[in-house]
């Protein structure tokens, strides 16, 4: 069982920055995210796109912002449960909440901060009648452990960065990689497209375009897929794995059943005070919350994370005085024993 002070649901920028603010107040954090890596939308949807409204950054790529946030919170040693979604929560006693994920991982925390952005990112699934029958039986929407595919036949479908990048990577792992896309043109980074072209020329990737996968076949697991290529008759291709990479779609998920006040797909919070939901000890920060005048901006999420942490601190330390400090003055003490502080001014006597 994982125990922590604040359990943060969502590893987007707001959730990550909450770790820093909690750390300043000596509170430990653990983060759950459905995606296999931290960063939320920034990492998954537009890592190469510039953001222009982060204070102090005239321009910063989304992926770079995530990297910087990860570097900034490293000293506070957050824990991560990645690739899992928070399913249920219970109030164990006056002190502890318990949250269990879809994979059965149990977390106990003294406060919960939902920083889930637009919700849990779920893969966009191709429209096939029997698709659920093959999920995790050769049909995969994420690649968490590439070694899993060593010396296996793999078919990837899609035309974006994920499809290109994983085709390239698995060409050195799998025994056979086939990339299928509806068009001849690919949307990914130019160097990835060129790399796939090279690997195709070398015979390491089999490219089938313009084509679609229309069916999965197999007895209890994926054994073949049906391909419809432009102007040709449908045919079957034997494979061990089928990996459709058509992007993600956000869903509020099981959190919607926790008894939280929800309006228009967002969680209602008390923004006049501390971004707490209608359930005491459960907060919602960032794009997932709503209140009068709400703006879905990263910088607003940072602000909300800060106030949430102050509120949790006061809740966990009733009566204990805390004076808001500036890191320039007080420095930052990491949980790893590190200390960061401003350099002392040089004082020198002038004769």
């Amino acid at each position: 069982m994982i125990t922590t002070d604040i359990l943060i649901i969502g590893a987007g920028p707001t959730g990550l920055f909450a770790v820093f603010e909690a750390g300043l107040l000596k509170m430990k954090c653990h983060i759950i995210d459905a995606l296999p890596q931290p960063g939320g939308q920034l990492a998954e949807l537009y890592p190469k796109k510039p953001i222009f409204d982060i204070p102090g950054y005239p321009s910063v790529n989304a992926g770079e912002l995530v990297d910087n946030l990860m570097e900034q919170i490293k000293q506070f040693q957050p824990g991560f449960t990645l690739g899992e979604t928070a399913v249920s929560y219970t109030k164990v006693d006056d002190e502890w909440f318990e949250v269990i994920t879809n994979k059965g991982t149990v977390h106990r925390a003294k406060a919960i901060a939902i920083a889930g952005g637009l919700g849990t990112f779920e893969p966009r699934k191709p429209a096939m009648d029997n698709i659920a029958d093959y999920e995790e039986k050769g049909l995969e929407y994420f690649i968490k452990e590439p070694e899993h595919f060593r010396n296996k036949k793999v078919v990837i479908a899609g035309g974006g960065d994920s499809a290109l990048d994983w085709s390239i990577f698995l060409s050195n792992v799998a025994s056979e990689v086939t990339l299928i896309h509806r068009r001849n043109e690919f949307r990914g980074a130019l160097d990835s497209v060129e790399k796939v072209q090279d690997l195709k020329n070398e015979g390491k990737i089999k490219l089938i375009t313009p084509a679609e996968v229309t069916a999965i076949k197999g007895d209890g697991k994926v054994e073949a897929i049906t391909i419809v290529k432009d102007g040709e008759e449908a045919y079957d291709l034997e494979t061990d794995y089928f990996i459709p990479l058509f992007g993600l779609t956000p869903k509020l998920g099981e959190i919607a059943n926790w008894g939280l006040n929800i309006e228009k797909n967002a969680i209602v919070v008390n923004n006049a005070l501390d971004y707490q939901t209608n359930l005491e000890g459960i907060y919602a920060i960032g794009d997932i919350n709503t209140y009068p005048g709400k703006l879905k901006l990263i910088l607003c999420g940072f602000h909300e994370a800060t106030l949430m942490c102050q509120s949790v601190y006061n809740r966990l330390n009733p009566g204990k005085k805390y004076v808001l400090k500036y890191t320039t003055v007080s420095g930052v003490d990491g949980f790893d024993g590190s200390r960061k502080e401003a350099e002392k001014a040089v004082v020198k006597k002038i004769d």
Binding site: Q41, L45, L118, G119, R124, A127, E185, F246, N265, A266
Partner: protein, 109 residues
């Protein structure tokens, strides 16, 4: 610059006559959001970067829209429910030439 009149049919099939400003750098996706014609979280998920297709619309009446760019074309190649007249709302910036535009919001996702 003046406002223009467009017709947007939402995902429930209800048609809305909408007045859209052409002097605020807004695109069709943002117009749909500002008039709340699609549920939050189901429109403009990527923020308007032609990276999610949640703002896909079917163009019913085209008064002369700008040509589709490469990014939009490529995104629609991956999206679902795509038709011959599909466009991404986020790539259609409101200009006076769009007076009389009629679109239908595509299903989500």
């Amino acid at each position: 610059m003046s406002d223009i009149n467009i017709k947007i049919t939402d995902r429930e099939g209800v048609a809305h006559d909408v007045v859209a400003p052409t002097d605020m750098s807004m695109n069709l996706m943002e117009i749909i959001r500002s008039y709340e014609l699609a549920e939050e979280g189901t429109i403009g998920v990527c923020g308007g970067m032609a990276m999610c297709a949640s703002c896909q619309v079917y163009v019913i009446n085209d008064p002369g829209l700008v040509e589709m760019g490469d990014e939009e074309d490529a995104m629609l190649a991956e999206a679902f429910h795509v038709k011959e007249n599909s466009r991404l709302g986020c790539q259609l910036h409101m200009v006076e030439e769009m007076e009389g535009l009629e679109v239908e919001i595509a299903p989500y996702p």
